[in-house]
Structure formats: structure tokens, C-alpha cells
């Protein structure tokens, strides 16, 4: 009874204490969210009404979204599960219905594109998906045909019900790859026995009966989907690179393939290029157009026409980068993009049936200086009032950028879909303003005469005054406008540090190899830089070598990109504020790189030294000036590094020698047959711990074990059986290799998320015994006395720390885990938990405290310890992103700000969300709703009251004196 009262009291106290949610008028004031969809796989313009403003996109991130073409914002978005089961195989659009095949032919879905609602969903029979197509009948599109490896099925477009399902003949030898229909009551399934023959089966739309089966010899053909298209009235057109000829086959007749050598058309293929055919079928109920594109080289396309079994060249486009067909009403046009010069491309429309150039259809596409090349072209054509064709164009670039433009080249919006796949990020302080920098520079320069110094000081003070007046004027001007109208223009010129350093530059590295510099206050992309030739499976490591604190030296960031296949690494050195590549040439790295290490020592230009360890365990330094090498020689005996190799289960520690080679100090081998290393986590370098101990109830101190070299190694059993699986935590000193603590969580398995900070480690695992998610916390203490309070050396720590551990049940699974970070470490810590629902939970570390008592005593109450309860609460006011969910949150980045109470948080995944958190509330800031008016009016009132009463008192005294 007493305990329940106490816990009740505690919860009331906690409720009051941690109510950290935002108020309604604070929404969007300190935070922003950007939503992305991912690299576009299919994009279709909504054409069913002339004035439509939608483009539908299915992406490689398993997202189906509709984007408003006026603004570029997402109208709606559906995020499917990750991995192959949510993979979007096909997107078909007819009228208001978008039909998707999802998960290798597992599901067939129809969406209403206006509101994004699901019309219907059908679970299809198993079998790997090959192709899908609309099937028209009697001049209207009524069915969807889905071709799988061994079967073909026809579904009603209106409700998804299966009309018929037929097994494909000889499906074990024939690879069916395409389905074709032209609205004449037949559906063709086109199959191929590679390098032997083509197999064509025609089904009746009505009942699925096989009308005919044809075998056509084609010993040269190895892939139907890549080499063949259907053009005109059911003519299969294939291209063969070996014989350099086109082959045609009429599907309606049981004929042989006709060979048309390209030489007869006077065409030549670029050496080593695989020709590509492109055709278009504007209406599924009608046959495709007889015009088609043939690409003969990287910059060479031809518009051809099939006429009476003869191929006629309508127009030769050379150079031409990309081509595309677009249809509006009855008109079909061909759009051709050609490079104009190194920075711009032109897009011109041609009439598809004649190859005639359409007047006034030139559009200039200016490529970004550090962007990728255009990769795909999507044309939205429409009929103007005078019946001529107008168009807008969406260009997809190599760097996953979508640019939407209208004539004559006005960019309406761009979407940086690369940001849906952020790999790593850093936050860098913004530089001082020009005037501030000038002031700083004044102190840095040598004195050149008293008079000039005075003049210089006066002039700089004057400029400061001017800047301040300008700032005041802007404040006054903005204050009159409502907040929504205040435009936050962020340009290079206005980028400067604010007084509390709350605005920073976010440097984001994406998997596509595109780097972004984003202003953390508004989310504006300040700069972007696309790195070409970044391999698909590259590993990235971003390091800040020089911050903005060393004016006039520019800040400097270094990105290490390592190709996982070859092991070779490349360094990209750039200025994090402007994104410009540095003029410093990074060293070329001929050897495969294992790891890198950023040392706290600096060269004469204040750049931190980066050490790179190659596969021979030799070390190279960047920058490697004489000064640096000398410093390294002096410091070598205190520089250590560790490497974890999960493939061999090996952890090893090395020491740097003066000749920049290394010496193996220790080695721990975890047998790979039993367990595998998941990850190794050290502490963050920029973390400060204010308090060296914890005050007990009897006012003695329990000192924290703050080993900066401590590593947390997480292992998981290779045996997945729930009875024998386990998760292991190994706390190991990275310098000496001494195992400080070893914990094994039996009957548990991953995914494990871990945070290692101060003197604690928090990790989350799945308990397969109790079938629930559990949090566990480990805290390390030195005891009641400090061994050495002035220096910490791992080599001189004879005592093993005390380890305390406690576990809790967490009601949901989690996606990511991170801890808040503040400037001085005075503010209490919170854990930021990214949940699969997209919410980000700010969980006080106070709840994860192994000293939480089971029985409440006077002392534990004195310490403000919450009584132990196995269940971890989740309160909705702890969600720092209220309803701004972050889809598929993959990482959270925290950075300290200039205010001790405030920590900047960026959550990234499919979306990017930036906000501030105040783990101990804003103890150093006046409240947002602080009543300045009341306080100042009271102050003024009191002031005047004293003045008046003083006067009155004088008068009274005088009167009394007269009496």
C-alpha cells in the first residue's frame, strides 16, 4: 500500500517533471520535416483529366507516391515494407486507377490516384513475377493480365477478381517474359528458350482458352525482354547485336522471323554497344504505334517506322542523350534530349508519326554544376488551346534528383530523392559573419602603427553598428508580418552563426554518393555535390578535420569512401559550409584501407591529423607535413587503435611506432562458429561529463568509471534456435585489451541497438524466451574512492570497476537508439528511441538506472531514484516529433548547441526531421511565453510610483515643516 502510494507520488512527480511536449503554437517553430520517396523506378503522369497536377512514382524504396506537379510536394505516399516483399514490380495507370504488382507477384493492388485510397487488393498465386499489362476488350481497358513463371491470370480492373488463371504450357523449359494484347480478344504470352526458339501462346480473353501455340526459331536470341518490343499491328521487333540486324515477326501469322540487316538501312552500331528498342502503346485497347526508337550508341537515337513490313527511318537524332514518347489525346510526340554544351541540354519535341520537328517546343535544361547527368526523361504532354502540343518535363538524374520544368526552361521544382538514403552525417558550426570575422582578424594581424589601428577599430565598430541597425530593422519589419509569411531566405551571404549556435550546417552523405549541406534551422539545401563513380556498396566515413573556429583558415571535412569489393579508398576533401572541393590534394591511397583515425593533434594550419591504416598495418597521415610527422613521432607511444573483423571474429589492438608502422598489442578471438561480432562502439569524442560521480543518499560519492578507451562489443550467436541463442556484451579496454566486463543474455537475439556513453551502456534485444523486447543497462563505477583523479591511463588502472545491471521490458520494437548530447554535460541525459511507427521517443535516462531500488528506502528517496518497475512506460508527450512521423527512421544524430540546455536532433530515414530537445527543460532560457509586457509594465509602474511618492513625501515634509 505504502509502495503504491509512493510510486503514485513518483509518477505524478514525473508527469509534472517530464511533460516535454510542444505547444500548438510551437509547431514548426524549431523543427522541420522533409519527406522523400526514394529513387524513382516508375513514374507516370496522370493524364485522365487535362488539368491534372499529379505524377505517380513507384520507387526502389518500395514507396508509391503522388507528387503535385505545381509544387513538388508529396500529395500522398504509401510506404510498403522494406526488402523484396514490398518491392514494386510494375506500375500501370489507367484513368484514375493505378495498378501495382508488389513483392515479386505476391499482391496486386489498385489505388485511387486522387486521394491515394486503396481500391482493392488481391493476393496472387505463388510464382515469380514476369510481366503485367492492361488488356483491352471492345475498345476499353477492362482487365489486367499478370504473367508469372508458370501461369497467366486475368483480373478485372474494376474489382480485382480473377477472371481466369491458366497454366502456361512447357513452363519448365520456356521462360515467359512478356505479355501483349491489343484489344482484339487475345492475350499473347511471349516465351523464349534461350538461343533456340521463341514460344508464343495466345489465350482467349473470354475464357482463357489457348487459341494457338507457335514456335519460331531464333537461335540468336538470349533475352526477350531486353531485345524485343511489339510495334504496329502485333509485330514483334527484335534487335540482334551479333548479326547487327533487326528481326520482325507477325504474332498473328505463323511465320518465320524476317531479318532486316541494319546495313540495308545504312545504320551503324557504336562498337560494344547493345542496341535498345523503345516503343509505345498509348492505349491498351489498341495496337502500339508503328513508330519506335532504336538506340545505336550512347548518344545516337533513331526514330523508325514499320510500314508494310519495311522499316523506314523517320529521323536520325545525333547527338541525343535521352528519348521518350508522350501521348496526349490522339497525338503522340517524341521528345529528344541532346547535349547542348557542358552545362546545358536541349529538349525538343518531334511528331511521332512523321518525325517532323514541332515549332516552339525547345526547352533548355541547365545541369547543375556538381550534379549528375540526366538519366531518364518523363514527358507530360498536353494540348494547348490552339491544338498544338505543349509539355512539361521531369528529368531524373544519376544522383536521383528529379527536376520538373516547363518551357522555356523554368525549373518549377526539384526533389533530391538521394536524401531518402542518408548514410552518415555531421553538424558543423556556421562561420562568423563577415563583420565579426573582420573583428577577429583585427586581433590576429600584426600591429601596424597606432593611428591605423585606431582607424581600423573605428571602422569595424561602425560596420558592426551598421549591421546591428540592419538586424534591428529586419526584426521590426518581420515582427509586423504574421509568422507564416516570414520568408527564411538562406543564402551563402546570410549564413552565419547565431548567438547561441543553434543554427548549424548539416552535412549529409547519401548512398548515391551525393553530398548535401543543409541549413539546420530551415532545412534549406545550401549546397550539393555529386561524387561520380561512387561504387554501389561503398562504405563512407565522414570526419571534420578543421572546424570554423580557426579563421581565416576555411573549415575542412574529409570523406573516406571505400569500395568494399576492392578495398581501395578515396578521400574527398571539401569545405563543409560551401561544399567546394578543397584545393588540397588528398593523398592517393594505393593500398586497401582498413580504418581511419582522427587524432586530436593539429598541424600548423589547425587541421586535425587523419591516420589511415592500410592492409599491411602501415599508417599514413594526412596532412603529412614535417611538423605533423614530428608531432606523430613524439606522440607515437600514446596512439593506439583497434580493429574488429567480424568475418574472422577477431578483435585486435595496435600501437603506433615512431616509423609509422604498428605493433600488435592484444588480440581477442571470438569463434565465428559460435558467435559473430555485430558491432563495436566506443564513446563519442566530443562528449563531456560534468559530474565525476553520483551522490548517494548518505551524501557520499560513488565515482563513475569514465574510461575513454572503453569499447562495447556486441555479439550474437550463430545458432538461431530460440533455446540456444544468446546476445553477448563485452566491455573491453581498447588500449590494453583487458576485458572489463562480460555479460551474456541467454535466450535472446538481435537486432541489438546500443548506446555507449559516460559510464553506461544501454542496449536493446529481443528476448525469445519471453517474446518481448527488453532494454538492459550496464553502469560502471570505480567505487567510493577515485584511483587517480587527475589523469586517466588505461595502463595504470589496477582495480576492476563495479558493474551494475538492470533490465526492463519495452512495449515495442525499436529502429534506432541514440543519446542526447550537450555542450558541458550538465543537463541530464535522455535516450532518443526511433520507433518503427515513425515516432521518436525521448526516454529519460533516469528510467534506465541499475540503482533503481525494488524496495524504497529513505536513502533511495533521497537520491530521487524511481522504484524499480519492469515495464518501461511510453508516454505520448515524450514523442518529440508529435505527429511528424519519420518513416523508416534509420539513424538519429545529436549535436550540442551553444545553450547547455539544448541538444539538436536530426532523425533520418526515408524522411528527415530536425528538432531541438531540452532534456532538463530550458533552464537557461526565458520561457517562450514569458510575459515581457507584464514585467516591464510592472517595473515601469513601480518606478513611476516611487517617483511620484517621493515627490509627494517631499511636499508633505515641507508642509509639516511650515506648520
Amino acid at each position: 500500500m505504502a509502495i503504491s502510494i509512493i510510486t503514485g507520488g513518483f509518477s505524478v512527480f514525473l508527469l509534472c517533471h517530464f511533460a516535454g511536449a510542444v505547444f500548438e503554437d510551437q509547431v514548426g517553430k524549431f523543427d522541420w520535416r522533409q519527406q522523400y520517396a526514394g529513387k524513382v523506378r516508375f513514374a507516370l503522369f496522370d493524364m485522365h483529366v487535362q488539368s491534372s497536377k499529379k505524377v505517380l512514382m513507384a520507387t526502389e524504396k518500395n514507396v508509391f507516391a503522388s507528387v503535385n506537379t505545381r509544387t513538388g510536394d508529396l500529395a500522398w505516399r504509401h510506404v510498403d515494407s522494406t526488402g523484396p516483399e514490398g518491392n514494386i514490380d510494375s506500375l500501370l495507370l489507367h484513368g484514375q486507377d493505378a495498378v501495382l504488382v508488389v513483392g515479386d507477384g505476391r499482391l496486386l493492388r489498385s489505388w485511387d490516384i486522387n486521394v491515394g485510397g486503396l481500391n482493392w487488393e488481391m493476393v496472387l498465386d505463388t510464382g515469380s513475377f514476369q510481366a503485367a499489362s492492361f488488356v483491352g476488350h471492345l475498345d476499353s481497358v477492362r482487365y489486367v493480365a499478370v504473367l508469372k513463371k508458370a501461369a497467366i491470370s486475368l483480373h478485372y480492373l474494376s474489382n480485382g477478381h480473377q477472371k481466369w488463371l491458366e497454366n502456361l504450357p512447357e513452363s519448365d523449359s520456356v521462360q515467359y517474359q512478356a505479355v501483349y494484347s491489343e484489344g482484339d480478344g487475345e492475350v499473347y504470352a511471349l516465351g523464349l528458350v534461350p538461343n533456340s526458339h521463341i514460344y508464343i501462346v495466345a489465350f482467349s480473353v473470354e475464357d482463357g482458352e489457348i487459341i494457338k501455340q507457335v514456335t519460331v526459331e531464333a537461335p540468336w536470341l538470349s533475352d526477350l525482354g531486353a531485345n524485343c518490343v511489339v510495334v504496329g499491328q502485333g509485330v514483334l521487333m527484335c534487335v540482334d547485336v551479333a548479326t547487327l540486324s533487326l528481326y520482325t515477326l507477325d504474332l498473328h501469322l505463323d511465320s518465320e522471323m524476317t531479318q532486316i540487316p541494319l546495313q540495308t538501312l545504312e545504320l551503324e552500331v557504336s562498337p560494344g554497344f547493345q542496341p535498345v528498342l523503345t516503343s509505345t502503346q498509348p492505349n491498351a485497347a489498341q495496337a502500339p504505334l508503328s513508330e519506335f526508337f532504336l538506340q545505336l550508341g550512347p548518344e545516337h537515337h533513331l526514330l523508325l517506322q514499320l510500314k508494310d513490313n519495311k522499316v523506314v527511318t523517320l529521323r536520325d537524332f545525333q547527338p541525343s542523350l535521352l528519348v521518350s514518347f508522350a501521348t496526349t489525346g490522339e497525338k503522340t510526340v517524341a521528345a529528344v534530349m541532346a547535349t547542348k554544351n557542358t552545362t546545358a541540354c536541349t529538349i525538343i519535341l518531334y511528331s511521332a508519326d512523321s518525325g517532323r520537328r514541332l515549332l516552339d517546343t525547345t526547352l533548355i535544361f541547365t545541369m547543375e554544376p556538381n550534379g549528375g547527368k540526366p538519366e531518364r526523361l518523363y514527358i507530360q504532354a498536353f494540348l494547348k488551346k490552339d491544338d498544338s502540343v505543349g509539355y512539361r518535363v521531369m528529368v531524373q538524374s544519376e544522383d536521383h534528383t528529379l527536376t520538373f520544368m516547363q518551357q522555356p526552361g523554368r525549373v518549377m521544382w526539384t526533389r533530391e530523392e538521394a536524401l531518402s538514403d542518408v548514410v552518415t552525417m555531421e553538424m558543423v558550426d556556421l562561420p562568423l559573419t563577415g563583420t565579426q570575422a573582420e573583428l577577429e582578424g583585427e586581433f590576429g594581424k600584426k600591429a601596424d602603427g597606432l593611428c591605423s589601428m585606431v582607424l581600423k577599430r573605428l571602422s569595424s565598430q561602425l560596420t558592426l553598428l551598421q549591421a546591428w541597425m540592419g538586424h534591428l530593422w529586419k526584426l521590426f519589419y518581420d515582427a509586423r508580418k504574421p509568422r507564416s509569411q516570414v520568408k527564411n531566405d538562406v543564402t551563402m551571404e546570410t549564413l552565419s552563426r547565431d548567438e547561441f549556435n543553434l543554427q548549424k550546417m548539416m552535412i549529409m552523405v547519401t548512398a548515391s554518393g551525393k553530398l548535401f549541406g543543409i541549413d539546420s534551422k530551415t532545412g534549406t539545401i545550401v549546397w550539393k555535390h555529386y561524387l561520380e563513380n561512387v561504387p554501389a556498396n561503398a562504405a563512407f566515413k565522414l570526419m571534420v578535420q578543421r572546424t570554423t573556429a580557426h579563421f581565416p583558415h576555411p573549415p575542412q571535412c574529409t570523406l573516406l569512401i571505400k569500395d568494399k569489393d576492392t578495398g581501395l579508398g578515396v578521400l574527398h576533401v571539401f569545405n563543409p559550409i560551401f561544399g567546394k572541393k578543397s584545393h588540397i590534394t588528398p593523398p592517393s591511397l594505393p593500398q586497401p584501407i582498413l580504418q581511419s583515425l582522427l587524432l586530436p593533434i593539429m598541424d600548423q594550419d589547425y587541421a586535425k591529423v587523419l591516420l589511415l591504416i592500410d592492409d599491411q598495418y602501415k599508417v599514413s597521415a594526412f596532412p603529412s607535413t614535417k611538423n605533423v610527422l614530428q608531432q606523430l613521432q613524439e606522440m607515437a607511444s600514446s596512439i593506439f587503435f583497434y580493429l574488429a573483423d567480424p568475418s574472422q571474429g577477431r578483435l585486435a589492438g595496435y600501437r603506433l611506432l615512431t616509423d609509422l608502422s604498428t605493433e600488435l598489442l592484444w588480440e581477442v578471438v571470438l569463434p565465428v562458429e559460435v558467435q559473430k561480432i555485430l558491432f563495436v562502439k566506443g564513446k563519442r569524442g566530443n562528449e563531456h561529463v560534468h559530474s565525476q560521480g553520483r551522490v548517494m543518499g548518505d551524501r557520499s560519492v560513488l565515482y563513475k568509471y569514465l574510461n575513454p578507451n572503453l569499447l562495447a562489443v556486441v555479439t550474437e550467436s550463430t545458432d538461431p534456435h530460440p533455446e540456444r541463442s544468446f546476445v553477448g556484451i563485452l566491455l573491453i579496454d581498447g588500449v590494453t585489451g583487458r576485458i572489463i566486463h562480460n555479460a551474456v543474455q541467454r535466450k535472446a537475439r538481435g537486432p541489438v541497438h546500443l548506446v555507449h556513453s559516460e559510464n553506461w551502456v544501454v542496449y536493446k534485444y529481443w528476448s525469445s524466451k519471453s517474446r518481448r523486447n527488453e532494454f538492459s543497462v550496464l553502469e560502471l563505477y570505480e567505487g567510493m574512492e577515485l584511483y587517480n583523479s587527475t589523469v586517466f591511463s588505461s595502463l595504470d588502472r589496477p582495480h576492476v570497476p563495479q558493474v551494475l545491471q538492470q533490465s526492463y521490458i519495452f512495449p515495442t520494437s525499436i529502429s534506432t537508439l541514440e543519446a542526447t548530447l550537450t555542450e558541458k554535460g550538465i543537463t541530464s541525459r535522455h535516450l532518443l528511441v526511433g520507433l518503427p511507427s515513425g515516432a521518436i521517443l525521448s526516454l529519460p535516462k533516469m528510467f534506465l538506472d541499475p540503482r533503481r531500488p525494488e524496495i524504497v528506502t529513505e536513502q533511495s528517496r533521497e537520491e530521487n531514484l524511481i522504484p524499480y518497475a519492469p515495464e518501461m512506460p511510453i508516454r505520448s508527450e515524450w514523442f518529440i516529433n508529435y505527429n511528424q512521423t519519420v518513416a523508416r527512421v534509420r539513424g538519429i544524430y545529436t549535436a550540442p548547441s551553444g545553450l547547455e540546455s539544448t541538444c539538436l536532433v536530426v532523425a533520418y530515414g526515408l524522411d528527415i526531421y530536425q528538432t531541438r530537445v531540452y532534456p532538463s527543460k530550458q533552464f537557461d532560457v526565458l520561457k517562450d511565453d514569458y510575459d515581457y509586457m507584464l514585467i516591464s509594465s510592472v517595473l515601469f509602474g513601480l518606478f513611476f510610483a516611487t517617483m511620484i511618492s517621493k515627490r509627494l513625501a517631499e511636499v508633505k515634509l515641507l508642509n509639516r515643516a511650515w506648520r
Partner: protein
Amino acid sequence: MTSPGGQGGGALSTRGGAGARRMKWALELSMGNARSRVDRQGGQGDVVYPIGYSEKPVPDNSIQETDKNLVEKRCWDVALGPLKQIPMNLFIMYMSGNTISIFPIMMVCMMAWRPIQALMSMSATFKLLESSSQQWLQGLVYLVGNLLGSALAIYKCQSMGLLPTHSSDWLAFIEPPKKMEILGGGMML
């Protein structure tokens, strides 16, 4: 600003009732009364000193022996004052408890401040005790009393937890230890 005549007029008018009696002569033998009146009115110079009045004070030696005893007693009173307050303080201490709130803090402050103040003005007290023959003993008693009072206050502070006697009180001043080694690395990239 104010004229003496006006004031005198005022004084006259207030004594208008008694004026009739004063017109005749009166002899006041009470010395104190007379002096006070003379003093008050002497400045105006319009009053004649009464009979038997001497401008010089007359030394009075008749009561010196008893005075000495009285002074001694008075000095002991002063010297024992702080000691006498201790039981009272103990009672207040007991009543106010060990919780940290405004009233116990005020009590403790008062209790600590009073002896300190007394010790500061020790020389003034000594001057007071100058006339006593046991001046040094009294001074010592006075000092001990005050020291006891302040010790009591310190004990109270201690029991309230206001004294920085625990290691936790100095925790905030411990600097983070300097790192001797530089460690880096991680999983193989």
C-alpha cells in the same frame, strides 16, 4: 525659516493656563525638575535661576560602595548573557527541526549571526566591563559563551546538512581526468 519668536509665542500660548500661577513666585526644591526647566528655558535667558541652584554639578560620594557592587553584578550579567541564551537556543533548535525551509534557516542564521556579531564587537564589550575588577574573567566567560553559541549554530548547520563536510559537496569541483592515450578505430570498413 522658522523664527524663534514664533516658536516662543507658541510655547507661551500652550502654557497660558499655568501663566497665572507663575506670575507669583514659586520655589521648586526638586533639583531635577528645576534643572530641566532651566535647561529648557535657559536658552531664552528670560528665567532667573532659582534659589539654591548651582551651575556646577555637586559630586555625590555617599553611594559609591553599593554602586561598585551593582557594577560588578551588571558586568557579570553581561558576561553570562550568551551562556544564558544557550538553553533557549537548544529549545528553538529542537523545535525547528532539520528540514530545510525558510523558518529553520532564519533561526539558524540568527543563531549563527548573534555570537559572531558579539565576537566582532568584543572590544566594545571589554570597554563596558572596564570598571569591573574581574574584567578578564568576565571577558573569558563572555567569549566562551559566544563560542559555545556559534558551535551550537554550526552543529545545527551540520545536522541540517548545510556544511560541506561530505565528499559529495566537493564533487562539482573535480576536473575531468586528462586522457593519457589516444584510441581510435572500429569495424573494418
